[in-house]
């Protein structure tokens, strides 16, 4: 059956394209059954070896060769575009939730549109448009949010009524619809032919393509790629790109130095039919019905329809299993719910004849976002895989960003949400992946509301206090495998079930978090913040200080016992990490970074610290439990427990002292809280964690102590305008752009990474500015809540997007943080953003199409700060993270 389908889809017109390449590949293609000796030998060496001849591999080859890299070999174990790419439904859809994914899809669409002209290969590109249907009001809100982002990116898109849907598509049953989103520029392609077109253009540019060549493993020396072993010999290379799709995980583990690529395959089904009596027009819009979990496109006069069922079938958990490959059959019983949804959406199709049910595995990742970037452990080892069934939509853009990354050292957009380094080894367990993708695949169609958490693969990393906190009503979320408390449900109070609590409006925990915030403001709270990444860097001489002075923008040559907030910047001055560093002694430093920095920061430092046996860096994340003691009475609790005066006079802000708390000695206490509130962070060796917690809670009772969670923390930090790396800050944001000049010491006497870029910004001004918005006419009870990613309008014109938001219980208003840019009204050119530009505008925030007035501020409300600070620090001392 599969063979029949191959013939149907493969219009092998690409053959005519390039005589040179044809010579290399066609001989094998035409004699596929006989084992003829390969006509062309593999080269002994190349700059880049790409493994995988699907849409990803060919796109990377295409873009690398466009950028001037010529010495590239692409290896494909079977035939080009014969894997998942061949079976892909070929829908190019730009309606994406995450901004970087949206950009990739938009670029792909534009690339494919001109590909036929460029290469002469028929790609089947047809601009059909797509219609996403909403059966519920919540779904419509979700679509409106996407529509807002598409519009400000200049991608045509509109919210339409069910009636308009019926006008655009003759077969749709609209009686259960509340609305829809129409994206007229979305397209259909033959994905295999797109891939072949990219391969053709790449081979024109000198890329060598070898089919029927499989990579057995990747050779690594001193943490760098040196070559690949194939079944046809060795190739030495500097760069290896793993585009092996669903086999990427396995290939990653086949080398001497394993590269963890957390993805897992699931079976994916779609249906092909014979043409209708009156064949469907080839430009009929594609229908996406997320509430019915299906998509429907026109296909050769009939339809192609597939979907994402609630009960996916994961496969290849144990790697390439011949048995499972053979059983990749049509499973009609499994497809039944999707077929029902299809017939409900298009009842007239009842009489349409079935051609085939196609079963093509797709690979999914633990967080529903694709995987790209360089391995944290093996330099020169790049990955592009795990497309979560959107390979054709992302293919062009993803290939472009990865090529830029390889050629320039960094891509032209912030791709952190997709970076391989967001994962560690902990996401590479086969069991974890199997369970998680079974949750992820149905999520493709589930409603995505603010603050949802994955339910599978949980309770992996926990604090020693987990059980204690859980027993007190903790509700948990997960970051980088670590369980963290969202809030504590008071005894006797019940919250809604997980499913029912999904909302775009005011959530059911509103009052609970409100009382936690109040307690932080008026008394004292304790928050377990053990998930933070903690490194210790020390040396025998001055190596540690010297290296850190070069890698961090703030001045770390401070007296012992000081804590410094500083960015770890790249050459362009952008934040690779944002951290707090305590100087423990002359020669050793304690560094605290966001939870999900564990892999990225480690790799960044490892690659840049000098090879010196006298300089050591250790990941001590697991060694310490971190308790954040927040609130005006924190000082009382701590002093009673330690018999040491810790009032601001004795223990001012931004200091670190080792002291005893209760019976436990050696607790690192820092006078920071990550919120701007007074208080302390206690770094406790894990065996003392329970003791210290118990002591704190007992002693704190008379001061009204209670547990609090991250939601309270977030509300506190956002109302004080504290930016958080990974949410507000990224590799494309400099300290100058977010009001953190004071954390940059341009004159500290030593050179540091990013210094030149920052100097230039200081002279010329910045092109975006981190701004705080207070929503004015927003009704917390009745209106949609902001999340992040909402467009910001200044005097009616789009100027940027929000990056985070929270309700401020103090201001009794919503606060959004975001970046404001200045586009020339005529040319659209980016201009310098001045303080006046920010201050002299009327602002609105667009939440799902509805605009709310907002007041812009460049500095936080000083009235919110009550704490005495060290003289040389201004108020904006914190870096925050959620």
């Amino acid at each position: 059956a599969a063979g029949m389908f191959l013939r149907l889809l493969s219009d092998v017109r690409w053959r005519a394209a390039n005589p040179k390449w044809r010579r290399m590949t066609c001989s094998q293609r035409s004699t596929s059954s006989t084992a003829e000796p390969h006509a062309v030998f593999l080269p002994a060496q190349a700059q880049v070896v790409i493994c995988g001849g699907g849409i990803m591999g060919t796109s990377v080859a295409y873009h690398l060769s466009k950028m001037g890299w010529k010495d590239i070999v692409l290896l494909e174990q079977g035939r080009l575009a014969a894997g998942t790419t061949r079976f892909c439904a070929g829908i190019v859809s730009t309606a994406r939730q995450v901004s970087i994914e949206l950009k990739m899809a938009d670029y792909s669409n534009k690339l494919y549109q001109q590909l036929e002209q460029e290469t002469g290969v028929k790609t089947g590109y047809t601009k059909t448009g797509s219609i996403s249907l909403a059966q519920t009001q919540d779904r419509l809100i979700s679509l409106k949010r996407i529509a807002s982002s598409l519009n400000v990116m200049g991608i045509p898109c509109e919210i339409i009524t069910p009636k308009q849907v019926a006008q655009l598509h003759p077969l749709i049953n609209i009686h259960d619809l509340v609305g829809a989103m129409y994206v007229p520029e979305d397209a259909l392609v033959s994905s295999a032919n797109v891939s072949l077109a990219l391969a053709t253009a790449a081979s024109w540019n000198g890329v060598q393509i070898h089919e029927r060549t499989s990579v057995s493993h990747v050779s690594v020396q001193k943490g760098r790629v040196t070559g690949v072993e194939t079944d046809r010999g060795q190739i030495q290379c500097q760069y290896f790109v793993n585009c092996a799709g669903q086999w990427a995980y396995e290939l990653g583990h086949s080398g001497e130095e394993p590269v963890n690529i957390p993805l897992h395959a699931c079976e994916h089904f779609y249906l092909l039919t014979h043409p209708l009596k009156e064949p469907l027009a080839s430009d009929l819009p594609t229908i996406v019905d997320p509430d019915g979990r299906i998509y429907i496109r026109n296909w050769q006069g009939g339809i192609l329809s597939g979907g994402f069922e609630k009960n996916p079938k994961p496969l290849f958990t144990e790697g390439r299993n011949q048995l499972e490959i053979q059983t990749l059959q049509e499973d009609w019983d499994h497809f039944e719910p999707l077929l029902s949804a299809l017939l409900r959406r298009m009842p007239d199709l009842e009489a349409l004849q079935i051609m085939q049910l196609v079963n093509c595995p797709e690979s999914f990742t633990p967080d529903m976002r694709c995987i790209m970037g360089e391995s944290p452990t093996v330099r020169g080892y790049f990955v592009l895989a795990g497309m979560n069934s959107a390979g054709i939509s992302y293919g062009g853009g993803a290939g472009k960003y990865l090529a830029e990354w390889m050629v320039n050292g960094y891509p032209s957009e912030n791709v952190w949400p997709l970076d391989l380094k967001r994962f560690g080894t902990l996401q590479s367990s086969r069991t974890f992946l199997r369970h998680r993708v079974m949750e992820v695949m149905p999520l493709m169609c589930d409603l995505k509301v603010p603050r949802w958490d994955f339910q599978t693969g949980r309770q992996l990393r926990t604090s020693p206090l987990y059980d204690r906190l859980d027993a007190q009503g903790a509700r948990w979320m997960e970051k980088h495998g670590f369980e963290r408390v969202k809030y504590f449900v008071p005894p006797g109070k019940d919250l809604l079930d997980l499913d029912q609590s999904k909302t775009f409006y005011k959530p059911d925990w509103f009052d609970i978090v409100g009382s936690e915030v109040k307690c932080c403001k008026e008394a004292v709270c304790v928050i377990d913040m053990s998930s933070f990444t903690k490194f210790e860097i020390s040396s025998t001489g001055d190596q540690a200080l010297e290296s850190l002075q070069y890698l961090f923008s703030n001045d770390l040559d401070v007296p012992v016992g000081h804590v410094v907030h500083t960015g770890m910047l790249n050459e362009k001055g952008g934040y690779e990490n944002d951290c707090s560093i305590a100087r423990l002694s002359k020669r050793s430093f304690f560094m605290i970074s966001p939870t999900d920095q564990q892999v990225h920061c480690w790799a960044w430092l490892k690659n840049r610290l000098p090879e010196d046996s006298n300089l050591t860096m250790e990941d001590v994340t697991w060694k310490y439990t971190a308790l954040n003691l927040i609130g005006p009475r924190a000082v009382d609790v701590l002093s009673e427990l330690s018999y040491v005066p810790v009032t601001p006079e004795h223990f001012p802000s931004l200091f670190c002292k080792e002291m005893s708390v209760g019976y436990a000695n050696g607790i690192r206490v820092m006078s920071i809280t990550h919120t701007g509130e007074p208080g302390f962070m206690l770094y406790i060796p894990i065996e003392y964690a329970l003791h210290v917690y118990n002591e704190v809670m007992n002693m704190g009772q008379k001061y009204g102590i209670r547990n609090a969670g991250y939601y309270a923390l977030r509300s506190l930090r956002i109302e004080k305008f504290f930016a958080f790396w990974g949410q507000d800050l990224d590799a494309f944001t400099t300290p100058m752009e977010c009001g953190r000049e004071f954390q940059v010491k341009l004159e500290k006497g030593t050179q540091f990474v990013g210094q030149e870029a920052l100097l230039e910004q200081k002279q010329n001004g910045v092109y975006k500015r981190f701004t705080m918005f207070i929503l004015e006419d927003h009704d917390t009870d009745m209106d949609l809540w902001p999340w992040w990613g909402e467009p910001i309008f200044r005097n009616g014109r789009y100027v940027g997007k929000t990056t985070s938001s929270a309700y401020s219980y103090t201001l009794e208003r919503h606060v959004c943080l975001g970046f404001v840019q200045h586009f020339d009204e005529k040319t659209g050119e980016e201009l310098v953003v001045t303080t006046d530009f920010i201050n002299q505008g009327e602002y609105e925030i667009d939440i799902a199409g509805q605009r709310f007035q907002a007041k812009a501020k460049l500095y936080p409300f000083s009235s919110l700060f009550t704490h005495r600070r060290r003289k040389d620090e201004v108020e904006l001392s914190g870096y925050q993270r959620e």
Partner: protein, 458 residues
Amino acid sequence: FYLTPPQVNSILKANEYSFKVPEFDGKNISSVLGFDSNQLPANAPIEDRRSAATCLQTRGMLLGVFDGHAGCACAQAVSERLFYYIAVSLLPHETLLEIENAVESGRALLPILQWHKHPNDYFSKEASKLYFNSLRTYWQELIDLNSGETTDVKEALINAFKRLDNDISLEAQVGDPNSFLNYLVLRVAFSGATACVAHVDGVDLHVANTGDSRAMLGVQEEDGSWSAVNLSYDHNAQNEHEVERVKMEHPKSEEKSLVKQDRLLGLLMPFRAFGDVKFKWSIELQKRVIESGPDQLNDNEYTKFIPPNYHTPPYLTAEPEVIHHKLRPQDKFLVLATDGLWETMHRQDVARIVGEYLTGVHHQQPIAVGGYKVTLGQMHGLLTERRARISSVFEDQNAATHLIRHAVGNNEFGTVDHERLSKMLSLPEELARMYRDDITIIVVQFNSHVIGACQNEE
């Protein structure tokens, strides 16, 4: 009138019974895992009976279904008594002596059978003494006859069947001073019953059948599919050999009148049966017994009626045909059922439904469109049916119940249709018999591991 699914379930499950052979620590491991049984009445009261028991003085397990006609008296008596006759026939000489001595000296009797009964399955207390005396006479004769040979199961089964039928006949001729018992033995003799009995001992499976109930073996093929093997022959007009046998036993002059409208003497469907003395006794004997019998018997038109062309009795026998089968690991289960089941379902379907149910593998044969012309609507209908079939599997904890659900509720797709099920079960008593017969089913599940091990030993 419409029954909700829970109402349907309570009707279907009212008579269900399951027995699991207890497992001992590596000892006495049986080739039988257990059995499920159930009955669904169409007659009121039901005329079918079932029995199951473990032989305690010999090895083996006995299971049987009995389909009564002209009342339930004969089926009831056979269901109570037949297994004792079989067990006694199987007993070695020493055990028989021991039992006789115990009875003689008023000592406690060795238990012969352990019954596995549903609470609704009753034994008549009043007749137990009478029945016991007949049985004792039988074993006394067996002791006297002591052949010294080891008992052959096949022979034992045949002897037991014939002896019980003979006793039923004698008891009716002799009568009983107790008028209730007198009437009882007459009703037993004048009504009839077929019997299909299985004896399982290790890998030896014997099925003794008299009449038109049926035993069927469910076999799992290497590819996982299910097939059916018959372990009995129906004794009715559809069985050429049986028609031939009847004709052989009577003069040629009667050839035409022997089988009419597929019935024996134009009256009786099964060609072999217990009781039914109207087809066994001479006309004189019948008349004498009826005349001296109680008034109720005289008032009964049926008993007084002498079959037409009744020249050379007996026309009917209770002698069973016995089939011996050596169990193989692929033999997964045995279905014993009265004709009520076999009228509605093909044995191949029975094998598949029970097989899929027992293995817990609800993966039905996957559907492949292949080259067929199937529309989306047709496929959707088919898939919905298949899903309904799967959900009905999960409703039942008893294979026999599951089979009855299919027998009564199946639609043209071979899947359970709740509406049909509801209609069939809510038929008024007087109509029910026109749409369906009493159904009695026993599904015996075999222990493939034990069977495989036994095979290897041999």
